[in-house]
Structure formats: structure tokens, C-alpha cells
């Protein structure tokens, strides 16, 4: 019998074309969108890992090494290879801007950077030439407008002579790529022999390849070097899962993936609801099937299998095309296609069918699960009752307003709504998903916008300028220099100087944890406290409100910090700060703790953080430039800064980005939900065909059915409101957590008002209109005579 049933199931697929197309389309959209984003993300992560690996190996150690140290490292168990290279730190005057640069020889750059694109000119040929390489620029770094032929003045520390060197070169090339060395995005590529001469026999960086447990071997390498008197200024262990940029990418992609996962639920909800509607419509047929001996498997083949096959019709093309869509999206999002293509050549773009396959299986499994729901109803159908019942069937109806005999139509529509509980539940869920998604994104966007406003509020946010002062000359007493100038300049009302050290991942789930320690000035300018006090002794820390909200920390709690070697440092939280520039990654410690964690002595820090509050009524931009000019009056000093306006702008950019991305996803969700709900209503109209025909025969115009749908949709919207609110609240919180590593933790602004915005209303109206029109068309096409005559 099963073969015959299978044949008739296949006929259902071709016969009910609208249902087939709707489900196939939904499955296609959901798998395609989530798979392509996931493949793009995995490729980006892979590329980041590979790019890091090319420059850092498994372990990169910065410091001052000689050949003896090199041999010692080679002998450490697990070390495969050690490649020394020379990187000098310096300050360069290029295109009228003074910038911090890493100086690398032209042969070295090719061996450590996977992608170097010469945009203009060429690499340097002699000691008087230089090529400026720039990587992805953060907000603090200055923008340089340099042209070929410009003169460059460089101040760098000559390691071999242990004194400051001044170099003059002509710019012969402009290059760009993805890698960068240290905190600056700029690398000055100079003649290899020149760099070698300035660094002497010393190696400034060791790129180490490791076999086995990278962390353990790295720890042994660092211990060996320290035991032999090497001062390590910085190190980085490249572990794919812990790569801080990859953690950032995860955070960024969170705004895509989380809403798209919700999209996956639409197809199974649709298969469940339309399947239920079909069984309700065919209740007599099901009773007959059961009476002539259909098994559960036969019912499965008849009612569930068509959904799975329909899902396959959407899933297979999605599986095939999603890697290519991912590649297209990747090129689109990466901006310049040329540099993206070079990245393919250097690292490659894997199509990753396994990722697409994983989501295909998930989507089909969910769809299959949804398609099983109608079988529950089929199982419950009473054979005798169903076959012997003559008339219109609506399942059990709730006695809503049974003693109240006014507004009969309204009562009829309300009861119809509740008698189709499957439809009610599914429709409410689908609508709540769509609504919740849309509101969650706007809530998060509103949260970011609120922070943007607070950043401009000088009462709430005391700091006007946040900068980093770098001295290429290690002999300069930087703290004394800064303190003296801050004391002398009239416009400064207060300042705060910090030691700064960065950990790749310091607190679980975060990327780039920035350690700070007050060494001069007033910490309340940069880190205004909301609770507690500043750290006074070792083991105490002030965290930001963002981190507290993200991880649920409270004042007095313990915080565990893990450094690159996996060493655990325990702190007691003594205060919570509301610093807006800190979105959850800055920890204010004591100076001695930073020294312990970094392994650097205080005098070995070549740059210091500087936060300034200006006197009231001054132009921030003007005063910031003036202060920079004063601080940079010493030629080896470089100052980079950003103002409260940039902090504010970053939040508003984040707001726009969140709203933009999730807005696109909301449109996809809108289309999906509109397709799903329209299909559900069409099947319901078919199921109620005779009832509609009777009403028409009694003199009810077709518009009444449309009015019923409209009223019911409004009722569904009202019923969806609390669920949508809960969905949006939970989704916004999840979204905020997902994106915390990229945007920082932004507290979403979820209010009842946020449920009804112009965007939300537009979406709801569009869905309602689509459903109503679809039902109106279906009803007006109804053949009353045939429906009335149909038993």
C-alpha cells in the first residue's frame, strides 16, 4: 500500500503548488542566508588566523634578542622553527602628519606578511627610499594623506648604537594589506640593510613555529628567555579558537547569525500549521484512511513526507549555491574587490560545503519535526465520530461570550480564531518572531544611540580627549614630560595618565582586554565611578558598567583574568566605572599588577595613555590639536587621540549598523512570514470552504471573510504583543551579548513604546494587508455551488 500512498503524496506536492513553493522558498531563504553568512564568517576567521600566523607564527615574542637567545629557543622542546626579524619602532613625519610606525626591511615584509598590495609606486631600493604600508585603521590612528615623492622624516631608536637616529627618505610607494605590527596600522618599509644596521646583531622579534601544545611550549620559551635576562616587551600566542580578532568577528557576525537562526524556525512552524490545517480539512478522509487500515507510517508518508520533500526542493539549491553567495558577500563586504581577491590567492576562500550541509540538515530536521505535528491530530481523529458526522466541522469551540448575544459577528470571528488553535498558536509565534526580531534590533540600536547622546554629556562623561603618547626615544621621562605640560597648559582642567597593556583574551569570551593603571592625575576623569572605589592595592580592579552588565559582575565580586599563557590572575572588583569609551574591555588595575602581568618594568613602557578634561566652553577639536602640537614639540614623540565626539559617533555608527543589518534581516523575515501566514490562511480558507459557501448562500458578501481575516489578524497582533515584547527583550539581550566583543556591551532600550514604531507598524500593516488580500482573492474564487454540494 505504501507505494500507492507515496505516489499520492507526490501528487500532493505537485497539486498543492502554492504550499510547495512557499515551503521550498522559505527553506531556501533560511538555509541560504544562514549558511552563506556562516561560510563567510568561517573563511574570515580562517583568513585572520592564517594572516596572523604568517606574521606571528605560533608564538611571536618582542624584545631584544641575540644569536645565543635564538639557539636557546631552538633547543626548547616542541619548537619547530625560529625566524628572527627586525622591527624598529619609530615616529615618522609623512604628508604633514606625525605618525607612529613600525619600521621593517623590504625583504622581511615579504616573508612575514601574506598580503602586501602595492597601490602606487614600488618597494624601496636604497637607504633613502621608503614605502608606507597601511593596514585597517582604528579610530585613534591618524589619517595620512601622503603622495609619492613626499619627503619623510623618521626618528627611531638605533638599537646597535643605543641612541636616537634621524633618517630622511623619499616616499617611493604606497602599500596596503591586512596585517599590522603592534598597535599602529602603519609600517614603514625601508631598505633591509639599513634596518639591519640599525638593529645590529639584535633581533627584535622572534617568530616561532611550535609542534604540540602551543601554550605549554610558549610558556617554556618565554621562561627560557626571561631566565636568560631577556626583557620581553610583548608576546602573542596564535591559537585559532582564542584569536582575539576571530572573537571580534564572532561578535560582529552575531548581528547576522542570531536573527537568521530565528528564521530557521519559520519553515517548521509553517509545515506544522499548514499540515494541521490539511489534516483538519481532511478529517473525514483521515478517518476513512484509518478505517481501511492505514498505519502510522502510511499517514506519515501521506501527510509528513510531502513537507520533507518540499523542504528538500528548497534545501538542495540552497546547499549548492550558498558557498558561492558567501563568496560574493565576502567580496562585497570586504570593500575593494582587488585586495579581497589577493587575499583569496594568499589564503584562499574555502567553499565549506560541510558548513552549508550542517545548516541544511538542521533546517530539514526542524521541518521534519514540524511536519510530524499534524500526525498527532490525525492520530486523535475519532473514526466513528468523524465518518458519521454530517455538517460543518470546526473541532471543539470555546464558549466565548456564550451568554452575550450582541456583536454576533465579532463573536463568530473570535470563536473561529480559537477553534483553529493550531492556526492561532502558529500565527502568533510567527508574528512574534518577526516582530520581536525587528524590535530587538531597534532596541539595541536605540541603546547605542542613547550612549551616543550620553557621550556628549559632560556631566555624565567627564573626559574630552583620550590619547596615547608614544616616545620613540626610551631616554625620555615621558610621565614627567606629560605631567609638566599638563600643569602648564591653561585649557586643561584635569588629566589622567595610565600605563597600558593589552591581552588578546583576558576575560572569557572577550577580545583584546586592555589593562590600565593610574600613574598620575585624576582617574575619575577617564573612569568616573558608579560604585565603589579605585584600586589601592594589588589584586583590586575597577571594571566598566558594560562588563558588569555583560558578565553579571557586582562590586565585591571576584574576577578571573587569564593571560596569553593561560596563567590565572584573581582580582577583587572594588568599583564599577561608567566610562563610555570603555565598552567592557578595560580593567583599571594597580601599577604593580600591570607590571606583574606584562613582565615589563614601569620604565619600559614606551607609550602612556593620557585622558584630558578641558575647562568649560572651549572647542575640543581646537584644544586637542593645540595640545598635540605642544606635546609633539619633542621630535621623537607622537600623539594620537580621539575626542568625546568620536566616542559619540562610534555609538551612532554602531546604532546605524545594527539597525541596517537587522533591518535587512527583518525584511527577509517579513517576506518569509508573509508567505507563511498567507499560505496558512489560504489552506484555512480551503478547509472552511463549505462554511464560507454557506455564509455566502445566506447572503454574506465575500468581503466579510476578508473583514474576518482582518479582525483576526488584529486580534493576533494584540495576542502577539506580550510574546513579541518578551521575544524582543530576550533577543535584544542575546544580540547585545553576541555583539559585545565587537560593539561593546550595549544595554538595549526595550520599552513597550519600542514595540510600536513606524517601522514596526509598517511591517505589521504590510503583513496584514498581504494576508487579507490573499484571503479575499481565495474567497472570491470560491465556487459556492460546488462547495455546498461537496460532502
Amino acid at each position: 500500500m505504501s507505494r500507492v500512498i507515496l505516489r499520492s503524496a507526490l501528487r500532493i506536492i505537485t497539486g498543492k503548488r502554492l504550499e510547495t513553493i512557499s515551503v521550498a522558498l522559505l527553506v531556501f531563504i533560511s538555509i541560504l542566508s544562514i549558511s552563506s553568512i556562516a561560510i563567510m564568517k568561517e573563511n574570515m576567521k580562517n583568513q585572520v588566523y592564517e594572516l596572523f600566523g604568517s606574521a606571528t607564527g605560533d608564538l611571536l615574542v618582542l624584545g631584544l634578542f641575540n644569536d645565543t637567545h635564538l639557539e636557546l629557543v631552538k633547543r626548547v622542546d616542541g619548537v619547530l622553527d625560529v625566524a628572527p626579524y627586525r622591527v624598529l619602532a619609530g615616529v615618522a613625519l609623512v604628508g604633514g602628519e606625525r605618525i607612529q610606525v613600525s619600521i621593517v626591511g623590504h625583504e622581511t615584509i615579504a616573508s612575514i606578511f601574506r598580503v602586501v598590495v602595492i597601490k602606487e609606486g614600488r618597494l624601496p631600493g636604497n637607504a633613502n627610499e621608503a614605502t608606507l604600508y597601511s593596514s585597517i585603521r582604528g579610530p585613534i590612528a591618524k589619517k595620512v594623506n601622503a603622495s609619492l615623492g613626499d619627503g619623510i622624516e623618521v626618528v627611531a631608536f638605533n638599537v646597535s648604537e643605543r641612541k636616537l637616529a634621524r633618517l630622511n627618505a623619499t616616499l617611493v610607494g604606497l602599500a596596503e594589506g591586512f596585517n599590522h605590527i603592534g598597535r599602529t596600522p602603519y609600517v614603514l618599509i625601508m631598505n633591509e640593510n639599513l634596518v639591519r644596521g640599525m638593529s645590529g646583531e639584535s633581533h627584535l622579534a622572534l617568530r616561532i613555529l611550535i609542534r604540540g601544545d602551543v601554550k605549554t611550549v610558549s610558556e617554556n620559551v618565554l621562561k627560557t628567555l626571561r631566565d636568560n635576562g631577556v626583557s620581553i616587551s610583548w608576546y602573542f600566542i596564535n591559537i585559532r579558537e582564542e584569536n582575539p580578532v576571530n572573537v571580534l568577528i564572532e561578535g560582529l557576525m552575531g548581528i547576522f547569525t542570531l536573527p537568521l537562526i530565528a528564521l530557521l524556525l519559520i519553515a517548521p512552524a509553517m509545515s506544522a500549521s499548514i499540515g494541521l490545517a490539511s489534516v483538519a480539512r481532511d478529517y473525514k478522509l483521515v478517518a476513512v484512511m484509518k478505517s481501511i487500515g492505514f498505519s502510522s507510517m502510511d499517514l506519515f508518508i501521506y501527510y509528513s513526507l510531502p513537507w520533507i520533500i518540499r523542504g528538500l526542493l528548497g534545501a538542495i539549491p540552497a546547499l549548492i549555491v550558498s558557498p558561492y553567495v558567501a563568496k560574493w558577500l565576502y567580496v562585497y563586504f570586504m570593500g575593494g574587490a582587488y585586495i579581497a581577491e589577493l587575499l583569496y590567492e594568499a589564503v584562499g576562500f574555502k567553499l565549506m560545503y560541510d558548513v552549508a550541509f550542517r545548516y541544511t540538515i538542521i533546517a530539514l530536521a526542524l521541518l521534519a519535526l514540524g511536519s510530524l505535528v499534524p500526525l498527532v491530530l490525525a492520530y486523535r481523529i475519532d473514526i466513528v465520530k468523524s465518518i458519521s458526522f454530517i455538517g460543518l466541522y470546526a473541532g471543539e469551540t470555546l464558549r466565548i461570550l456564550s451568554g452575550f448575544h450582541r456583536f454576533l459577528w465579532f463573536k463568530l470571528w473570535l470563536r473561529n480564531l480559537t477553534s483553529g488553535r493550531w492556526k492561532l498558536i502558529t500565527t502568533v509565534i510567527l508574528l512574534a518572531i518577526l516582530w520581536g526580531l525587528q524590535v530587538s534590533s531597534s532596541s539595541l540600536g536605540s541603546g547605542a544611540l542613547k550612549y551616543s547622546g550620553l557621550a556628549q554629556d559632560r556631566e555624565y562623561n567627564p573626559v574630552d580627549i583620550i590619547g596615547f603618547v608614544y616616545a620613540a626615544d626610551p631616554s625620555i621621562d615621558l610621565l614627567g614630560y606629560i605631567s609638566r605640560i599638563m600643569g602648564e597648559v591653561d585649557s586643561v582642567s584635569g588629566y589622567h595618565v595610565t600605563l597600558q597593556y593589552t591581552l588578546g583574551v583576558g576575560v572569557e569570551g572577550l577580545s583584546f582586554v586592555f589593562l590600565r593603571a593610574t600613574i598620575a592625575g585624576d582617574p575619575s576623569i577617564e573612569y568616573p565611578l558608579e560604585a565603589g572605589r579605585y584600586p589601592e592595592r594589588e589584586g583590586e580592579v575597577v571594571i566598566s558598567r558594560s562588563l558588569a552588565m555583560l558578565k553579571g559582575y557586582r562590586n565585591g565580586d571576584k574576577l578571573r583574568l587569564v593571560d596569553g599563557l593561560g596563567r590565572i590572575w584573581e582580582f577583587k572588583i572594588t568599583g564599577i566605572s561608567r566610562a563610555l569609551q570603555d565598552r567592557g574591555s578595560y580593567l583599571l588595575l594597580t601599577e604593580s599588577d600591570i607590571v606583574k602581568i606584562s613582565g615589563l618594568r614601569a620604565e619600559e613602557f614606551r607609550g602612556l595613555g593620557l585622558a584630558i578634561r578641558l575647562k568649560d566652553g572651549l572647542s575640543i577639536e581646537y584644544e586637542a590639536e593645540k595640545l598635540r602640537g605642544i606635546l609633539e614639540s619633542v621630535e621623537s614623540i607622537n600623539v594620537e587621540y580621539y575626542t568625546r565626539h568620536e566616542v559619540s559617533r562610534e555609538y551612532s555608527t554602531a546604532s546605524r549598523m545594527i539597525q541596517g543589518v537587522t533591518g535587512i534581516i527583518s525584511i527577509i523575515a517579513l517576506i518569509s512570514v508573509a508567505v507563511a501566514l498567507s499560505s496558512i490562511n489560504i489552506v484555512e480558507s480551503q478547509a472552511k470552504m463549505r462554511e464560507i459557501a454557506v455564509l455566502k448562500a445566506l447572503g454574506v458578501p465575500p468581503s466579510s471573510r476578508a473583514l474576518e481575516t482582518l479582525t483576526q489578524t488584529i486580534a493576533i497582533i494584540i495576542l502577539s504583543t506580550p510574546i513579541a515584547y518578551a521575544t524582543s527583550y530576550i533577543t535584544a539581550k542575546l544580540l547585545a551579548r553576541e555583539t559585545a566583543t565587537f560593539f561593546g556591551y550595549i544595554e538595549p532600550e526595550v520599552t513597550l513604546n519600542s514595540l510600536i514604531t513606524s517601522n514596526t507598524l509598517t511591517i505589521l500593516i504590510v503583513v496584514t494587508v498581504i494576508i487579507t488580500i490573499t484571503v479575499l482573492i481565495t474567497t472570491s474564487r470560491l465556487n459556492t455551488v460546488r462547495a455546498l454540494a461537496d460532502l
Binding site: A394, R399, L698, G699
Partner: protein, 226 residues
């Protein structure tokens, strides 16, 4: 007084690629207050005739004039409006609205026709009493037997006090006792001044009518008036 004029009415149905003539040139007239049974075997065109008389469907050819109004020329919405006020319909499969109770199904007709009755509930209860179902007023259709459902359908048909009652095989799915009860109710409705036309293939039930019109293959083959 002539109430209905059925003049050379033809009705064609298209089923897939097949064209079927359900009625072929049927003509008859009905006086106000008549009690008529349309009889004939399955497929003879009885139901089609009811659908045309009620204005649910339109003839392919010919004219139907009821109380001076040619309903076959009216548009869909005009016919729906006309039907609400002039016809009470009883269906073969009862067709009560499943989400409304017996009482509410009766009130629904009054709501549709916008009948100006102050106490709609009171009138609906009276009608349910008339069909012997006052005690089942708050039952949903699926809580009633077939005979009870059809009696509610009669009450619904009478609710807005229409001059014409049309019933399409109203007893087809009922036992003998219920069949007789339904036809007697129709006769009581006729006694109240309604023009009642019902279809049946049961000769015994047809015998309750004062006039019997016989159809065969869409053609009127007999018109017996007692």
C-alpha cells in the same frame, strides 16, 4: 397571486472538460403560499433548481422572476442582499455554522438580514421552541444529532421571516421519524403563510406536499397539483 416565474431556464455546468446540462428549458410558476415538492432521482437537477431559485447561482439561459423582480439579472452582491430578506434556505448537509450555538445560528440570520426585531434572542428562542429545541439552545452543532441540526436549520431559515423557504433534500441523512418531523415542520411553516419548496427523492415525503414537480435529466416531466 403568482410569486415565482421560472421561464425556460437552462443551466450548464462545466466539470473539467465535460459540459453538463443540469436543467434544460424548465418552466413553471408558483403562487404565493404554495407547498411544493420537487422530486426526481439523483442528478435530475433538483438541487440546481433550488440554487437558482435562491439566487445562489444564475441560469445559463432563461429568466427567474420572483415577486416581480428578475433575480437572474441581478449581480452577486444584489442577489446576496435580496436573498437575505426574501429566502430561508435549508441545506441537505444542515450546514450550521460550527462555532455558533443553536441559538446563535438562528440569531445570525436576523443579523444578516438586519431585521428590526427588538428582542432577537426572544424571537430565536420562540423559533427553537417551534422546532422543539428550546432546551438545546446553547448547544454547538457537533453536540446535536442530525435531526436536531436540521431542525435548527429550519429555525434559522425562518428567523428573518422570509416569504420563501427553500429546502434542498432536507431529510436525506435522517431516520424516518426525523424525516417526517422535518416535513411536518415545513408544512407548519407553510401554514404560517410561507411559500415552501423542498426537494426529495422520497415519494412518501413528497406526498406531504400539495404540489409535486417532477424532474428527470434536467427536464420538467410532471407537475401534479392536488
Amino acid at each position: 397571486m403568482v410569486l415565482i416565474v421560472f421561464n425556460d431556464v437552462w443551466k450548464e455546468y462545466v466539470m473539467g472538460r465535460v459540459r453538463v446540462w443540469a436543467l434544460r428549458g424548465v418552466s413553471f410558476s408558483v403562487k404565493k403560499g404554495e407547498f411544493i415538492a420537487i422530486i426526481g432521482p439523483s442528478g435530475s437537477g433538483k438541487s440546481t433548481l433550488i440554487y437558482l431559485l435562491s439566487g445562489i447561482d444564475r441560469p445559463s439561459r432563461g429568466s427567474i422572476i420572483i415577486d416581480g423582480l428578475e433575480i437572474s439579472k441581478l449581480g452577486d452582491s444584489e442577489r446576496a442582499r435580496w436573498r437575505r430578506n426574501n429566502v430561508g434556505i435549508i441545506f441537505q448537509f444542515f450546514h450550521l455554522i460550527p462555532t455558533l450555538t443553536a441559538l446563535e445560528n438562528v440569531i445570525l440570520s436576523m443579523e444578516l438580514a438586519n431585521v428590526k426585531v427588538k428582542d432577537k434572542v426572544g424571537r430565536a428562542m420562540e423559533l427553537l421552541e417551534f422546532v422543539g429545541l428550546r432546551d438545546k439552545a446553547d448547544k454547538f452543532p457537533w453536540e446535536l444529532s442530525g435531526g436536531e441540526q436540521q431542525r435548527v436549520a429550519i429555525a434559522r431559515a425562518l428567523a428573518n421571516d422570509p416569504p420563501i423557504i427553500l429546502a434542498d433534500e432536507p431529510t436525506a441523512f435522517l431516520d424516518r421519524a426525523n424525516k417526517i418531523k422535518i416535513v411536518e415542520l415545513l408544512r407548519e411553516a407553510n401554514a404560517l403563510g410561507k411559500t415552501v419548496i423542498y426537494t426529495t427523492h422520497d415519494q412518501e415525503l413528497a406526498g406531504y406536499a400539495y404540489r409535486r414537480i417532477r424532474l428527470l435529466d434536467g427536464v420538467l416531466v410532471g407537475d401534479l397539483n392536488e
